[in-house]
């Protein structure tokens, strides 16, 4: 395809954010994406979503987002179609685009050829498309039949073979989905996953609320982490409105992010130990987790969801906070080193978790992220490839595993905790001085109006309504505990975002679990599931 080569050579090295924009033809998607994957090396599938574009000739635009791991370049491939066009599907090239296409079909009504399009997030029996602009906020949908196509698919194959149903909300607080496993002589031969029990429709809310009013909703998308949603939302806004944070605020936000990473890793290792009924380890992990939430509360005021300002950080670090950090961190490092040695020497722990392995090629095809990808031996971390804040000047290493089993994932998580403690100690030794907020920007001065006392109420309201987002598309991501957490922002020229897309890591991890559990024993699925690091409120949004 000479057109594609010319386009790529023209745009390379142009954009600031490292992105390349390519306009595609809807009739020849498969051949062009095949070229991109096999010849140019864009083998990693990040995201796929649709947006409505009023005022143009076409009705919908569909975006494909793919990544080259060697050279750290992302491509945004857009296709414009009308509402009656039936799209070719991409599942022959990437296996993991299955659930993305099902979500586009049920939210917008786009039809894909040669596919079995079942419901994913909405209840069965519902015939409305909620993400369209014609669907108002006060409308409601029907939920008539609870057991939809999953029931019929289960009955079609063989009604006499064993299907066991597992509902996970009475067993753990971070998982809520239904799992059906077909067992054949003690081993799993087929599996179905049903999601959508926590679907709140956060992406629909952005059409009615301000930028400032949206931040508490995006914090609560990931329910089992201290700081992950807040940081990615702040980075997306500040990149878009061109606010530059002073270096002291960057360092304080990095401290909170590293503490939150340690909390998440301890949580998931504790869940693996719970499934294997090892009580003594659970108590020790809980002690260190409680200490971290107390540190978090002493600085920000809330145990879980802090309210960090746009443009910086609202208040100083207290002197007692820093000294209690210096007392606590050496104990934490000794504890994790002791745990790594104990758990690897434990016969029971390592025998169960070591029995399966994931190849590096299948990991890239299924687009795994985070510690699961690094457990298979692939070196990819957002803190090193697309660095943000002070991560370039801090000294740390990335642990890699060998075989890709659950044992490797647990070891990678515990080793990352040790690296995070060294990052925190380096930051505390060299804290920069200076301002806490970027005071030159007019939006940040809105929140400092209390000191002056000269502001009129009408002036403030005009300032809040007058914040305009440019007519552009941007993407920003951070490295959370489970993988890559990304936000796409589409602007319109008005003070509200026209499309907001959240791409969490657990979406592709849960989809990969559906095909990876085949061949294992039925009684051992629990620890295998917990080692991935899946959070169900992220999947449903």
């Amino acid at each position: 395809m000479k057109n594609l080569e010319e386009k790529l050579n023209l745009h390379r090295g142009g954009n600031d954010t490292g992105e390349i924009f390519v306009e595609g033809d809807p009739n020849s998607i498969n051949s062009e994406l095949n070229l991109l994957k096999n010849q140019f090396g864009f083998c990693y599938f990040l995201d796929m979503y649709a947006a409505e574009c009023p005022g143009d000739d076409f009705d919908f635009k569909i975006y494909y987002y793919i990544l080259n791991l060697d050279e750290n370049i992302r491509i945004r491939y857009t296709v414009s179609i009308s509402s009656k066009f039936s799209m070719p599907s991409v599942t022959s090239i990437w296996k993991c685009s299955d659930w993305y296409e099902r979500e586009i079909h049920e939210m917008y009504g786009v039809y894909f050829v040669n596919r079995n399009l079942d419901r994913l997030l909405l209840p069965a029996g519902c015939s409305e498309k909620p993400m369209l602009n014609s669907f108002r906020m006060g409308q409601e949908i029907e939920a008539t039949t609870p057991f939809g196509p999953y029931f019929t698919k289960r009955n079609q194959k063989d009604p006499l073979k064993n299907w066991t149903k597992i509902s996970t909300w009475t067993k753990s607080t971070h998982l809520s989905f239904k799992l059906w496993l077909q067992s054949d002589e003690g081993k799993v031969s087929d599996s179905i996953v049903e999601v959508g029990f926590l679907h709140r429709g956060v992406e629909k809310l952005c059409q009615n609320l301000n930028l400032f009013q949206l931040s508490p909703y995006i914090q609560r998308v990931n329910s089992h982490s201290l700081f992950c949603g807040e940081l990615s939302w702040l980075m997306a806004i500040e990149q878009r409105l061109q606010i530059k944070i002073p270096p002291k605020a960057m360092a304080i936000r990095m401290l909170l992010a590293e503490f939150s990473r340690i909390w998440e890793h301890f949580y998931f290792v504790e869940q693996v130990c719970l499934k294997l009924k090892m009580d003594k380890d659970i108590r020790e992990f809980q002690f260190y987790k409680e200490y971290i939430t107390e540190l978090f509360e002493n600085y920000t005021g809330r145990r879980q969801y802090s309210n960090v300002f746009i443009g910086g950080v609202p208040s100083e670090l207290q002197a007692g906070w820093i000294t209690s950090c210096y007392d606590f961190l050496p104990k934490l490092e000794i504890f994790t080193s002791k745990k790594i040695r104990e758990l690897s020497k434990d016969y029971f722990f390592s025998e169960i978790l070591r029995s399966d392995s994931i190849d590096g090629n299948t990991a890239l095809e299924l687009s795994l992220t985070g510690p699961t990808l690094r457990g298979c031996g692939i070196n990819f971390d957002i803190r090193k490839s697309f660095p943000y804040y002070h991560y370039e000047s801090v000294d740390f290493e990335i642990p890699l595993g060998k075989h890709g089993s659950s044992f490797d994932r647990v070891l990678v998580r515990l080793e990352e905790v040790r690296q995070s403690t060294s990052i925190i100690l380096q930051l505390l030794d060299n804290l920069p001085t200076g301002n806490l907020l970027d005071e030159g920007h007019e939006i940040v001065s809105l929140f400092k109006a209390q000191d002056d006392g000269n502001f009129n109420a009408l002036d403030l309201m005009n300032l809040i309504d007058g914040v305009k987002i440019s007519k552009d598309v941007s993407y920003s991501s951070i490295e959370a505990g489970s993988g890559e957490w990304g936000i796409h922002l589409h602007g319109d020229g008005s003070n509200k975002a026209s499309r907001l897309r959240i791409s969490p890591p657990s979406f592709s991890l849960l989809q990969a679990f559906q095909s990876l559990v085949i061949g294992r024993e039925v009684s051992e699925y629990g620890a295998f599931l917990e080692s991935f690091g899946i959070n169900s409120s992220e999947v449903d949004r």
Binding site: L122, P123, P130, F135, M137, Q139, E140, I141, A143, P146, S167, W169, T170, K171, S172, T173, H174, S176, G196, F197, L198, H199, R200, G201, V202, K204, L205, Y217, R220, S223, H224, L274, D279, I282, R283, Q286, F287, K289, E290, T293, R303, Q304, Y305, S536, S537
Partner: protein, 167 residues
Amino acid sequence: MSNTDPWAIEQSDFFAWTTKLDTFLNFISKKKAGGDVWPISMANSCCGSELYSTSSEKYFGNKISAQFLEDSPEDCNLLIIGGVITSKMALEIKQVYSQMLTLKKVMALGNCSCGGGLYPTYNIVKGIEKIIPIDIYIPGCPPSPEVILAGVLQLLEEVSVTTGGPQ
């Protein structure tokens, strides 16, 4: 303790903890007459993580471990509902509620299940009191563990006052 003036409840809460915790622990270790509380939790998202951290050793000692979350509903007395309630989830809660023992209590944890207008979107049931009768509401987003403990003690005191002994 009268329930009409909320200021009165707050003032006496501090003293309630010191005297009532003994009776609560006795309920669990079955030293006084009666008193089995077997909880089952359907707490889902943010409120679920706070419920999980109250079951740690900091608040309960060695009496309850984190494994109280795994239970079948046929043996249980107390249903704890937390987190966002969507239309798919409401049908599941109804099924679990019908499978429990006949004398049961329900506790609603957090703002989303109390029926507040947190998420004004299409998939959410606004107020679970249309489906299931609830005995006590605990506010907060998410409520910290001290608030959850105070709420549980208040529920147990009501049970002993009205019936002369828990079921």
